[in-house]
């Protein structure tokens, strides 16, 4: 096989860039440079001559790449994800994952598509990781609120922990509400009293 493709990665999310970079290297690609912003983007393209530039579809820095490719007619020219071979399914999956890619003149869509697939998979993984992190943080926050309401019930009403917990649970069941909602109401209520 010929020399592995050289890739430039532009991503303002360092953790995600790390994930994408690791997978690309593991698949045998050369990761030429990893940028967190378009600062000096043109100079980097000039210095590294990447075969592919991978960039977040939402990044306004993409416009700088477009001016490079179309107005100034330098490498790379856009755009791999709109490959004839991949068809519209490939395009919509890339757009959905949030990946856009620019490839060098003369590069075939077939050669770059696997690298874009790797980036797409990692973008999706990152999205899922972030969602699950948000969920965990939310759950943690909910648990803290419930503990706080229990603490207030124990202090103000002289209940032990089990009784405080049962009180919360019973109010929630009887009012067809959640423990969290009840805990928030109790905190509001007890805090407004001296």
């Amino acid at each position: 096989m010929s020399k592995p493709l050289g890739i430039m990665l532009v991503d303002d999310q360092p953790e995600r860039a790390e994930m994408v970079g690791r997978q690309l290297r593991a698949a045998g690609y050369r990761l030429l440079v990893q940028l967190t912003s378009a600062e000096g983007l043109l100079q980097h393209v000039d210095a590294h001559r990447p075969d592919i530039v991978l960039i977040d579809i939402e990044s306004p820095d993409r416009d700088i790449l477009e001016s490079l490719t179309i107005i100034n007619r330098q490498n790379p020219t856009p755009v791999a994800m709109f490959s004839a071979r991949g068809g519209s399914d490939f395009i919509s999956r890339a757009v959905e994952a949030g990946v856009s890619a620019y490839m060098a003149e003369g590069m075939s869509a077939e050669r770059v598509a696997p690298a874009i697939e790797i980036a797409m998979a990692q973008f999706r993984n990152f999205q899922q990781l972030r969602q699950s992190l948000e969920r965990t943080q939310k759950q943690l926050q909910e648990r803290k609120t419930i503990e706080r309401a229990k603490g207030l019930l124990m202090a103000r009403k002289g209940l032990d922990e089990d009784a405080a917990h049962r009180t919360l649970r019973n109010i929630a069941m009887n009012s067809n509400s959640t423990m969290l909602a009840v805990a928030e109401q109790i905190i509001n209520h007890l805090q407004s009293q001296p």
């Binding site: 579809i57 939402e58 306004p60 993409r62 416009d63 700088i64 477009e66 001016s67 179309i70 107005i71 020219t77 856009p78 755009v79 791999a80 994800m81 709109f82 490959s83 004839a84 068809g87 519209s88 395009i91 919509s92 890339a94 757009v95 959905e96 856009s100 869509a109």
Partner: protein, 356 residues
């Protein structure tokens, strides 16, 4: 279809894309005034930052249609050579709306006052470029997309001032809403952009407007309602309903008496999230060049489509004119003008006529 037959769109729930610009007004006004609902549509509007992102999302099927730069559907092959999808438009939403702004610093170096018109600024810029030492950092001017009315207007202005846009300075692309900030940071020396980004630079003392583009190339198609060919083929009635609603919104906006209300609506947080005072001047045909200059009249700064004018008609002639201007710096594709669908515009007019 008779007047009694209501239009039944194949797909009533739609997502439309737009950018943070004054001439996104037709979409916002149509939604606020219930015009989409009048034609059986429920429309969600989604604001995007850059033209490339908007283009790719439309092609990737994330949205149904978009308010897009008029030359974009005509030059898709140049921008995305590997893309098999095509774009089309059956409605020009508006003409004009752009201006050329230079940084206050560059403007001062040219020895101009804000009262000097575009021609004087162009000649002064040409003289300034000739005086510069060879090898000095080139001046950078920004436009919003390689194949945009802005690029065509900026290149036209430079050429008619005796400046070679490919040799004498650098032209780069930036998203419209980043222009003012980049000008402030000194990353660029000037730009051609749609409103309100010229007025905002002038109001903040960061730039001076040296030319209103409608004074350079009058009645140039600016924004079109674009969809992909495959979406249009699947949703012809939805597309007709969409064009009908938007043509009515444009006609409402064409009446200058309505535009004060439009500025207030556009300014809201869920839409452009800007000061009404930045949006009102261009909607009222008022040009604040910058500095202490009193505003001057700039008639036709925004020309919105109207059922009684030809402004909204995407004719073959208009497509050819735009392509002719593009061809001066990039080869164009044979048959590209077919992206402008005058027949669809006529269908909209006939449909609205029957409903009266």
């Amino acid at each position: 279809m008779t007047a009694a037959t209501p239009l039944t769109p194949e797909k009533p729930h739609l997502k439309l894309l737009y950018l943070r610009l004054t001439d996104s007004a037709p979409l916002i006004v149509a939604r606020e005034m219930g015009l989409f609902a009048r034609f059986g549509l429920e429309v969600q509007l989604q604001r995007e930052t850059s033209w490339a992102t908007l283009r790719d999302k439309l092609i990737g099927g994330v949205a149904d249609a978009a308010a897009m730069l008029a030359p974009m559907p005509l030059t898709l092959k140049q921008a995305l050579p590997h893309c098999e999808e095509r774009l089309l438009t059956g409605l020009i939403l508006s003409c004009n709306g752009n201006a050329i702004t230079l940084s206050t610093e560059l403007h001062a170096r040219l020895g101009l006052s804000a009262a000097d018109a575009g021609g004087a600024a162009g000649s002064a810029l040409a003289a300034y470029l000739r005086r510069r030492t060879p090898g000095a950092t080139p001046l950078k001017l920004a436009t919003v997309y390689p194949f945009s009315s802005h690029t065509l207007q900026l290149r036209h202005w430079l050429r008619s001032s005796g400046i070679d846009p490919d040799r004498d300075l650098q032209i780069q692309v930036l998203p419209p809403e980043q222009m003012v900030e980049r000008l402030k940071r000194g990353d660029i020396d000037g730009y051609c952009v749609g409103e309100p980004w010229n007025t905002i630079a002038a109001q903040r003392g960061l730039g001076t407007i040296v030319a209103a583009c409608n004074a350079l190339l009058p009645a140039m198609p600016e924004k079109v309602l674009a969809a992909t060919e495959s979406w249009h083929a699947r949703n012809p009635r939805t597309h007709l309903a969409l064009r009908a609603a938007l043509l009515q919104a444009c006609s409402w906006l064409a009446d200058r008496g309505q535009r004060r209300d439009a500025a207030t609506i556009l300014a809201r947080e869920e839409y452009l999230d800007l000061e009404p005072g930045s949006l009102a001047p261009s909607l009222n045909d008022q040009l604040h060049a910058g500095g202490d200059q009193p505003p001057s009249a700039n008639p036709g700064w925004h020309l919105f489509a109207h059922t009684d004018s030809d402004c909204g008609r995407p004719s073959g002639d208009k497509a050819q004119q735009l392509l002719g201007l593009c061809e001066r710096f990039s080869p164009i594709s044979a048959g590209a003008e077919k992206a402008f669908r005058e027949d669809l515009y006529q269908q909209t007019l006939d449909f609205l006529q029957r409903r009266k």
